[in-house]
């Protein structure tokens, strides 16, 4: 299987007077269709690593290779397009627009990408059905339960048919039962669609479900298990 994401000696230093780098010398490879957990305590640098992998942040040194292209050389416009078309995001805090309907929330990445109205409605309805929210299409996102909200976020992340999904503590705001439902759904759709999944979490149960886990401590990779 070919590589979809690769970091070569990535180091990130924040220019705020702290000497210790947030990330030092990270080299890792993620294959297409793989599910990878990035685990570590808070402050370990796992979020920074995800931000760099997701091109939301640029490394201080080192390279990020996305689909065999060096993304560190991309312009910010190219990176915007890359995130819009190839990446999907699921956040712990959902970041839904509560006054908008489920349909509108799911269509947002397509609106940003300039997809036609007809096409984006079709795609959004399709994916809402896949996450089991067909009945809630025209409901305001505020009226959903926590579990439904996170399923809505899954739909938003999947609507662009991304190659990679970045999930940042996707169960952090959910109770055990709802967390389980969302995770099962996430893995099922990931396998169905052959998407690469990168989950940042400190939940060992969640990391066990992934093909492999990368353990981060003090900005370095300190362990890996499959």
């Amino acid at each position: 299987m070919s590589n979809i994401l690769q970091t070569i000696n990535v180091t990130k230093i924040y220019e705020n007077g702290v000497d210790t780098p947030a990330l030092s010398d990270i080299s890792l490879t993620i294959k297409k269709g793989e599910s990878v957990a990035i685990i570590g305590k808070s402050g370990s640098g796992k979020s920074t690593l995800m931000h760099i992998l997701a091109t939301l942040d640029r490394p201080t040194s080192g390279s990020l290779i996305v689909d065999n292209i060096d993304a560190t050389k991309f312009s910010s416009k190219d990176l915007d397009n890359l995130r819009n078309q190839k990446f999907g995001f699921v956040f712990q805090q959902f970041f839904l627009n509560g006054r908008n309907t489920c349909l509108e929330n799911v269509m947002l990445p397509l609106v940003i990408g300039g997809v036609s109205k007809k096409e984006r409605q079709r795609k959004a309805k399709e994916i809402l059905a896949a996450v089991g929210l067909s009945a809630q299409i025209n409901q305001k996102a505020n009226n959903l339960s926590g579990g439904q909200k996170q399923r809505l976020c899954l739909a938003r992340a999947l609507v662009t048919d991304p190659q990679i999904i970045f999930a940042d503590e996707p169960t952090g705001n959910l109770d055990t039962e709802n967390g389980k439902i969302v995770i099962e759904l996430l893995f099922r759709l990931q396998k169905e669609k052959g998407i690469t999944l990168i989950i940042v979490t400190h939940d060992p149960d969640l990391s066990k479900l992934c093909d492999r886990s990368i353990l981060i401590k003090d900005g370095r990779i300190v362990g890996e298990n499959s």
């Binding site: 915007d80 995130r83 995001f89 956040f91 970041f95 990445p109």
Partner: protein, 422 residues
């Protein structure tokens, strides 16, 4: 992102904080309303004046007065006495027959005639007597006639009267006065009452351009003046003003040169249009002053827009972060917020212009039946499309400019920090 989606998003963002947006729109509305109303009055008055000016008809003559310095109660300096100068009403310096011959010799001058403003005491149709002012009619002067025609300058027994005299003189309507006799009374230099009976040939429409006087033929006016100055050599042969005519086909350049010669010889030289145009200058000055209030209101509104949008940027920080994470570029984010600012300006201006038009329609209708009843064709407020569109565009641009600061702030947000912001 497509421009249509951008507009849609900014419009739906606009109604998210309804009270705040409404108040900002209200501020824009107040400024727009003020500017639109003052411009409406300016357009109305100027359109009327221009229409009347176009009607004046005499464009080949200067009204000339003596402009020699003399010591007036208002002047700061004391001027040496000149026995040649004659003093008229209000301490003005009069022009005399010697001035006429002097001006006649200037190049391009065709004809110089005194403009008579005889002092008459009353007019009557053999019942009540009414005070009146009269002046000699200038051939070719287009008066706006409610009925009848302008008088024939060769005919010494014709007169035209303003429409306001119709009812006091006992006529039910303007057309009834045509052909009727009117007696004009004045005193000669020996204080003897003289009456002339004239025929009314025309009734002048009310106008701001000095149709408030009676018009009589120049020869009759001259005769009255001669009666009134007979035996008083100190004022005989003196006039308040002269009418200096030049060739109808004289190029404007030469007419201007002629004016300069007259000015150099210490005369004032105004065309009839100039004299009337002074009025519109005064009106425009007043309106400019009122416009400043509107502009101040709009500047305050612009700061309101800045404030509103800065609050919106703060409230929507995580939303902006999400959009940027999902691939919205800085230009898109800038567009969303600056369109929102422009929309506040657009809606405020649109409502303001609409309200001013509504008020204008009501005021015009009221005025037409009340204080402007006799000024036919005078709309106090006029809103030409071009000027309304110009106001709208100007305010949208102002609002857009006010929105740039918050929009740039939004577009520069770092998505990671914005997503951490709660």
């Amino acid at each position: 992102m497509k421009i249509l989606d951008l507009i849609q998003i900014s419009q739906s963002n606009l109604v998210r904080s309804k009270l705040r947006t409404s108040l900002t729109i209200l501020a824009v509305f107040i400024g727009t309303f003020t500017i639109s109303i003052t411009n409406g009055v300016g357009n109305g008055v100027n359109a009327y004046i221009n229409k009347e000016l176009g009607n004046v008809g005499v464009n080949n003559a200067f009204v000339v007065q003596n402009n020699s310095s003399r010591s007036s109660p208002l002047a700061n300096e004391v001027v040496k006495y000149d026995p040649e100068q004659k003093t008229g009403m209000f301490n003005t310096t009069l022009v005399s027959n010697s001035d006429i011959s002097k001006i006649e010799n200037i190049k391009n001058v065709v004809k110089v005639t005194p403009h008579y403003v005889p002092r008459i005491d009353y007019v009557t149709t053999n019942s009540d007597k009414y005070q009146a002012a009269a002046q000699s009619y200038i051939a070719g002067l287009n008066l706006d006639m409610a009925s009848g025609r302008a008088l024939n300058t060769e005919s010494n027994d014709e007169i035209t009267i303003p429409i306001r005299y119709i009812s006091p003189l006992g006529f039910s309507q303007a057309s009834n006065a045509i052909g009727k006799k009117l007696t004009v009374g004045y005193k000669d230099s020996k204080n003897i009452q003289i009456e002339k009976t004239l025929t009314i040939v025309g009734v002048q429409q009310e106008s701001i351009l000095g149709s408030a006087t009676l018009y009589i033929a120049p020869n009759l006016a001259e005769q009255i003046q001669l009666d009134q100055t007979a035996g008083i050599s100190s004022i005989a042969g003196t006039y308040e003003s002269l009418l200096v005519e030049f060739d109808k086909n004289l190029p404007k350049k030469d007419a201007d040169a002629l004016r300069q010669v007259l000015l150099a010889n210490k005369y004032t030289a105004q065309t009839i249009q100039d004299r009337i145009g002074t009025f519109s200058k005064i009106i425009n000055g007043i309106l400019m002053g009122l416009n400043i209030f509107g502009i101040i209101a709009l500047l305050v509104a612009a700061f309101g827009i800045v404030n509103t949008l800065l609050m919106a940027v703060n409230e929507r920080t995580s939303e902006i972060g999400l959009m940027k994470a999902l691939g919205a570029n800085s230009r898109t984010v800038f567009g969303i917020f600056s369109l929102e600012a422009a929309s506040i300006g657009f809606w405020g201006a649109l409502i303001g212009i609409g309200a001013s038009m509504a008020v204008g329609t009501v005021v015009n209708r009221y005025a037409a039946h009340n204080f402007l009843k006799d000024f036919v064709g005078f709309n106090l407020l006029e809103f030409p499309l071009v000027s309304s569109v110009a106001i709208l565009v100007g305010i949208v641009v102002l609002a857009f400019l006010a929105g740039t600061l918050p929009s740039i702030k939004a577009s520069r947000l770092d998505p990671i920090k914005a997503l951490r912001y709660e």
